[in-house]
Amino acid sequence: MSKTYTPGQALRTYCSAYERRAEHEFSDLFADNAIFDLPLHDGRIIGRQGILDEIRTALIGLKNIKVVLDHVLESESQAFAEGVFYAEHVGIPPHVDGTPMRVDFKFVAILAVEHGKVVRWSEYFDTKPLKPRERTHLYPISRLSPYWDGTVAAGVSEFMVYNHMYFPLVYHHSPAEEYVALTERVCLWDVGCERQTELRGPDAVRFADYLTTRSLAKLQVGDCKYTLACDPQGEIICDPVLLHPWQNVIWLSHGDADLTLWARGIALHVGFDVEVCEPDVAPLQIQGPRSVHMLRDLVGPQVEGLGFYKCQPMRVAGIDAVISRTGWSGGLGYEIFPLSSERAMDLWNALVEAGRPHGLMVTGPNVFRAIEKGVTDTAYYSNSGMNPYEAGHARLVDLDKGDFIGRSALSKIASEGPSRSTIGLLVEGDLPLLEWYWPITDDNGRSGEVRWAVHSFQRGQNIAIAVADAALQQGDKVYIHHSKGTSEARVTTVPFA
C-alpha cells in the first residue's frame, strides 16, 4: 500500500531524501497530477513522473547537500517553510583557488497535500546569485556565428575561440541537466565554428586523399569518413569529418586548425585540378536519442533512412542543406550543413520549435559524454606533437594507399612502434580545473600527460584521457600532478562507456 504523508511529514521526507540523495524515497511522495514549481525551471512541471525525472537530474548534479529548515508552519493540508539549501555542484570544476562551486540559497517552500500525497510543491528563491549575470566579453577580431542571436536568447555565457569564431560552450544549465538532455532527449549545438574546407573540381577526391590519411578509393557520393590530416612529420593537424555530398566536391569539416590555408597552400604547388575555399556553411548539430524523431517531424521520413556516416542534400524548414548522420556525442545524432547563412536564424528557430515537443535543450557540445565515449577532438591533439598511432588512430592510416602528406614519417613510426599511447584514467577523488595539461608519473619512472579530464556522470567519478608511455598497461597505478596536489588513478581503456 502506498505511503501517505501529512504536510509536515512530506516536507521533512523531501528534505531528508534530498540530503541523502535517496532518489527512490521521492517515488510515492507526489500525487499523479502534482504541480512542481521552482524558479530554476522554465515553467511548472505537472505530473509525478516529470517531477521525479527533474529531481533525479538535480541529484545527479549535486553532492554534499544540506537542507536547514528555520521555520515550519503547518496546517492540516499545507506546510509553509523557510530554510537554507546548501550543496556543491557535480561536474563543474572548482574555482581556480580550489574552492568548490556551490549552490547555496535561502528559500521558502510551500506544499499542499491531498489524500496523503503532495499535490503542489512551490519554492521561492532568487536564482540571480546562482547563475552568471552576463556572457563573457567579446572582441571583434573573432567572428560571430550566424546563430549568435539564438545562442544569446538561449542564455549562453562562455565561449572559446575556435577557427577564429566564437564557439558557445556554456549556457545557464548545470552539467547534469545537459548530460541528461543529451543522453535521454535531444540537444541543439551551434557548431557554426566547425568550418568546411571545400575541395571542388575534377581532382577533389584525389586531392583529399593526398591531404588525409585514410584511403578514399571506395568513396562514393553520400559517404562520410572520420579521418586525419597530418604534417610531413606525421603529427596530427586535425581530425576532420570528410563529406562527399556531390560529385567533385569534398568538405573537410574540421576542428580548430587553419586547414583551409594549409590545403590552399599545398594546392598551389601540386598538380591537382581543384579549387580550395571555405564556403559560407555553418553547421548545427542535433544530438541525442530523440534527434531522429525531431528531424523526421521537420525534414520528413527520408532522414530515418540516412545511414551512419552518410550524408545527403535535403531541405530543412525550406532551407537547402546537407544532413549527415555524424556528430560529437558518441550516440545517435545529425549535423545540418545549410548551404548559406542568409537564413541562419530561420533554420535555428525552426529547429528550436521542432525540438520543443521532444524536450530539446540548447547547449554546447557535451565534453562529459564525449570523454566517456572516447570521442576526442582537434583540441586533444593540439600542442602535443601527437601522431595517429599515439592517438589510438592506427585504423585511420592507410600506408598502402599511395602517396599522402606524412606517409614517410608514419611508415617509420608504424615499423618502430609508437613511444606513447592514449590511455583512459579512472581518477580517485576530486580534480581542480584543467587549465593546462597535467603531468603523470608512475612508480617505475614512466610518464605522460593528462590532456582531458571531466566528471563521468555514468561512472560517478572523475575520468581523464592521457597520452603516456606506451608501456603503461590497463590496471597500472599512476599519479596525476595538478595545481592542488597529486591524485591517484588507474589506467583503463578508451572509450570508458
Binding site: P39, A81, I110, F125, D126, R133
Partner: protein
C-alpha cells in the same frame, strides 16, 4: 499586534507608497531582505533608503498576498507583486513569498523571496543610507 497584522500593515503602507509609515513599522535594528535591491539592509536608515529607491524607480508597485501560515513569532505568506517601472512601458508581475518576524518594538525581519534574475536592473543606483541620512 500579531505578526500577521505587521505583515498586512507593511503591505498596505508599501502599496500606498507611504515611506515614513512603512519604515515606522520596523524595529531599529531590523533586517530587510529584498532581492531586487541586491543587498540585505540592516536598520531603519538602510531600510528607508531601500524603500525610497523602490518608490523612485517604480510608478507603482503592489504586493498581493493570497495564502498565509503563522504562529506567534513568524508569518509566511505567498502571493505576487505587480509593478510598473519608470523606465519600462509594460507592467511586470511575479510570484513571491514573504517571511516576517516581529518583536515588541516592531518588525525584526522581513524577507522577501522572489527570483530577481529576470528583473536584475531594478536598482541601478545607490541604496545604502549614509551615516548622515535621516529615516
Amino acid at each position: 499586534m500579531k505578526v500577521r497584522d505587521h505583515l498586512n500593515a507593511y503591505c498596505r503602507t508599501f502599496n500606498e507608497r507611504m515611506l515614513e509609515g512603512a519604515v515606522a513599522l520596523f524595529s531599529e535594528h531590523a533586517l530587510f531582505e529584498m532581492p531586487l535591491l541586491g543587498q540585505r539592509l540592516f536598520g531603519t536608515a538602510e531600510i528607508s533608503a531601500g524603500l525610497r529607491r523602490i518608490f523612485e524607480v517604480t510608478e507603482r508597485a503592489e504586493i498581493r498576498l493570497t495564502h498565509f501560515q503563522e504562529n506567534d513569532r513568524v508569518v509566511i505568506a505567498e502571493g505576487s507583486m505587480t509593478a510598473k517601472l519608470q523606465r519600462d512601458d509594460g507592467v511586470v508581475q511575479f510570484p513571491l513569498a514573504i517571511t516576517l518576524s516581529a518583536e515588541d518594538t516592531g518588525i525584526s525581519r522581513l524577507s522577501i523571496y522572489l527570483d530577481a534574475r529576470p528583473y536584475r536592473l531594478w536598482v541601478d543606483g545607490p541604496i545604502f543610507a549614509t551615516s548622515t541620512s535621516s529615516n
